[in-house]
């Protein structure tokens, strides 16, 4: 009970407005990453089912996870995604870049910026829940061994963009859950108070 009370207090530090704002950013990122994925597929004439497998490694999602853990998991995934995306952009510029920048390159830049913004927002949410805990999720397993061929590099880029899209969707879902939970907690608190006052 003490734990719960503590958590509840901690959760109360989580501003509904901040969560809502983060959710909106995630929603924007979802749309933008979807467009980026589409542009890349068109550019490289990749089939729609040309990618599989996950690059980002985080603990599996569970309904047992509390708010802090959910946020930590999301933030960790987004950090890994950002790292992957930055490396992907650098690698692509090195191996395949040059020439005039077009819509694809602009969209890539937009997604990169939006992901950074979402990370900042989720970082602030995590701080609000867990105090000033240091957030250094592991980036193990994300090292690119250097795709042997340019085609493999292109496939890897596709995977990275898919990961960005996947985790933007996951961010929307997680943040919406947090909003719902917060609303439920508030209503139950109000109910308990009213019951107590009625008993008195």
């Amino acid at each position: 009970m003490a734990d719960r009370r503590t958590r509840s207090m901690k959760n109360s530090n989580l501003s509904r407005t901040a969560v809502n704002r983060a959710s909106m950013i995630a929603l924007q990122l979802q749309g933008e990453s979807s467009k980026l994925l589409e542009l890349y597929r068109q550019k490289e004439s990749f089939p729609a089912d040309a990618t599989d497998g996950r690059l980002v490694l985080v603990p599996p999602s569970s309904s047992q996870l509390d708010t802090r853990d959910k946020l930590w998991r999301l933030h960790s995934a987004l950090l890994q995604t950002q790292s992957l995306l930055e490396r992907a952009i650098t690698k692509e510029e090195e191996e395949l870049g040059g020439g005039i920048k077009g819509e694809y390159e602009n969209q890539r830049k937009t997604v990169k910026g939006r992901l950074s913004f979402l990370l900042l927002t989720t970082g602030n949410l995590l701080k609000a829940v867990d105090g000033a805990a240091s957030l250094t999720p592991s980036l193990e397993g994300l090292e690119l061994d250097g795709p042997a061929t340019l085609f493999q590099l292109k496939l890897w880029l596709l995977q990275v963009f898919s990961e960005v899209h996947h985790w933007s969707k996951a961010a929307v879902t997680t943040l919406q859950e947090l909003l719902t939970n917060a609303a439920d907690e508030r209503s139950s608190t109000t109910r308990v108070r009213s019951t107590r006052s009625a008993r008195r």
Binding site: L96, L150, L155
Partner: protein
Amino acid sequence: MPKLIFQHTLKLNCSFPWLICVLVNLLALNTHAQTIPTVPKQVSLSADLSVKELTISWFGGAASTFDLIILRTEFNTSVFYDTISATMNQASGRHEWKWTSAEPLECTSLSVRIRSRDGLATSEWSKMDTFPGRDLPSNNTLQMYPHDRVVEVGSNMTFCCIVKEGKTFKEMLYGNTVMNVTRLSRRSYATTLVNVEPTGVSGSNIVCRLEDLSLDGAVMFVGYPPLPSDFVCETQDLKSAECHWKEARDSHLTGGRRRTRYSVNSRNCNVDLQLTCRLPLWDGNWTLMAENSLGHYSLSDSAELIHRVRPVAPVNLSSVVNAWNATVMWQWTYESYFTLDLNCQVESTNHESKTLHVFSGVGLRSVKLSGLHPDQAYTVRVRCGHQKYFWKWGNWSQTFSFKTQTDVTDPPDVWMWMNKDRTGLVVWKPLGYQQSHGRVTGFEVTLWNPEDVEQHTQILPPNTYSVRVNLTEMASLGVNKKVFATVVVKNIKGASPPSRVPLRFIDEQPLVLSKPVFTNNRLFLFWQQNATNTCNYLVEWLDTSCEHDCPVKWIRVAAGSTNVSIESENFKPGVRYNFSLYSCPSDSPQLITRWQGYTQELVPSRSVPLSVKSQDSKVVITWGEIPLSDRRGFVLGYNVYISNGSELALLANLSSSEMRRYVVKGLSVGNYKFTVKSYTSAGEDTGSTASITLEPFTDALILEMLGALGTITILLIIVTFICYKKRNWVKKAFYPDIPEPKLPGDWSRLQGPLDVRPSPHSMVHIVEKPERDFNKETLVVIPEEEEYFEKDEPVDTDEPMSLRYYNQVVDDRPIRPRFPDSSASSASSLDSGHTDVTYTGIQTSGSSLVFQPDPQGSSEEQPPEVVLYDGGYKPQMHPKVLSDDVVLKSSNPFQESEAASSVGYKPQCSWHLDSPTDTAETSSLAPSLGSPTSVTSTQFLLPDGDGDEKNKQQPSSAAATWFSNLLLSSKP
């Protein structure tokens, strides 16, 4: 040995000389067979996978010709089989031969066998040597070859896909195109791209897909080798070299490591931003090398330093400014420029107009710009080039701005407009920025005449461009004196030189007004050269419709000119302008010529005032002129239309503006609308419409009527005349003499028509007695009810309002009481208050004139036997029917009805004036005689006792009977 067999067969068929030849050959063969080439040994295979080249080396002894066969190991299919020549490497003692494969060498294992050949003699095949492919079972991954290949545009390229063990190949895609595939081995599939097109920065993908949707692929880059051009080196600091070039063709290989690398004189050049390479010293000779994955290209250049000087941009510009000029100064970055022979351009910009000044000099660092205008802002920039060995202009300096000093303004351009009443306007043009030379503070206008000392001066504020003058108010100027107006402009530097204009009303009006020429948005005026005229000209224009204090515009033209063109922006379309050319406008202006016209004609803005009137059977359309200001063009004529429903039909096109009347003839009676539209060269106006209704011609109608009446009158006269001439015959035929009835007693009282007034309730019924013959004539009386409803029927008013009894011939047809001759008369008999009984025949008591007693009893001529009535009037009984016997017989059936109608009319059959017993009855009839009911009868009612008389008069009444029948038969 098939060859041998073949030769033996020849031996059998050939002649002897041939046999000798064959034997010689066999001998030779046997000799060779004895020296069989050695079998190649230690065959070694090595490959350059990037170029798909397989190098085969072996120990082949002395032989230089070999048979070589290359097979795909798995399917044992031959990909190469030929006789080759291979030289022995003297150092290693091995023969070597290179073979380039169409497919990548990784695609599948290849096996090679070689045998030596010496003419026809060959050795045994060497042992099979295999170059392993990547489709060996030990390599159990999905693979694609070749990787990341860069090829030239137009090449053919083969790719192969090695599927995983146990997986099923699905397809190979190039972009979105499914490619045709060749199976090389159990796991290897190949496809070939032919004549490849240039690819994008990131290349094109060739994708291999398996049925389980796993995929691998390869990226291919297609482009061109580098092709640089325009390679030149130059100097700016007079020490180092800066080389530039261009790419004549896009290599399409710009990404990653595939981009072209450049070097000049073996120095690598960084060409991220532009194709430039800097060398610290002037070498004099340079070689550019461009290289990419597909090849390289080199270009050379050589020059002396002094020939390739492109000066740097001047820096630190400054100026010394006056009203009409300025000195611009700058500095050079390198001192070596101080001795350089330079050619410099100075570009000055003022109100977006640019002027280029060119200056020359050694180490040029300052120039004086003249031709500037006072109080103007200028922006200048400078660039230079070598004067003697000009190579290129250097870069432009940064721009530098300054403003010139102010000065007194230019004299204003003054003109005047004088009215007839010695009033007028002195007008001048606003000063442009190049004339004001500073902010204008005001104007000073002075009126004066050369003979008088007195002047009238007026000070006006800035932005005033005209002043009204009234010479009559200035007594000192006199009526006939020459008066001038002088205008001076003032600014902060002082007063401008004065401009003068004589104030004089110019009333000459040339007889002929020319039209100006308007083309290409300009108006052109031409005039004859006047040798005696040495003054300038002035062309003035104004709206033609203006008469008082007109806002004139003008332009000055140099002396000796014969034409001038004026911008159309000065004029409004649709406005008529007067253009006047004056000579000597500043001293004594003389009108040379005058034009009148439009820069652009429009359709009239107002329609003509229209009136329409009829004149006899014609319609006269007249209209007035459109006011000048509304014409908006020269009226060329008028179109007259008649409105035809919703459309206008052209009646006439009057191609003269003077014709303003039109007569329309031949119109019938009716309503007409006429529209008149004036037109200019721009088209028609909207038109004025007037309507008129043509009435019938009444005089003619009256004449026609009079004519008809006259004709009728003449006809009547003729008929009357004829009748008069033939009166005896007419009288005999139509009106034979009627014998005077001889009556006992005083009959004179009954000389007039018998006035019989039926009782208001009397009803007359026609009863046909069954015991009588139906075909006998009966007296028909129309029932009152029917008569009542027949009132609306037309009634022949010419007939007397009498109750008429006709002895109708009863035929097979039913009796039609609606006939006008019966019903109408009956109706009238009921309605009239006074009835005349006209006797057109004499009816005796026993018979009538119509129904003559016929002893033989013709059924058609039998009169009606019985007449019933409700009361009042009783119809006359047929004389024959009314004989005593008949009456007695027939009275019985009527006794009841008579009793029922005890009051009322008694039948006239009992009318016996001579009988004293009947006197009372006769007298009792008197009221009925005075009743308002009229009875018109063609038979005279006579007493029964006159039967003899009747017989006597029978012949004389035959004519009357005939006439009566004629009248009856004429009825419908």
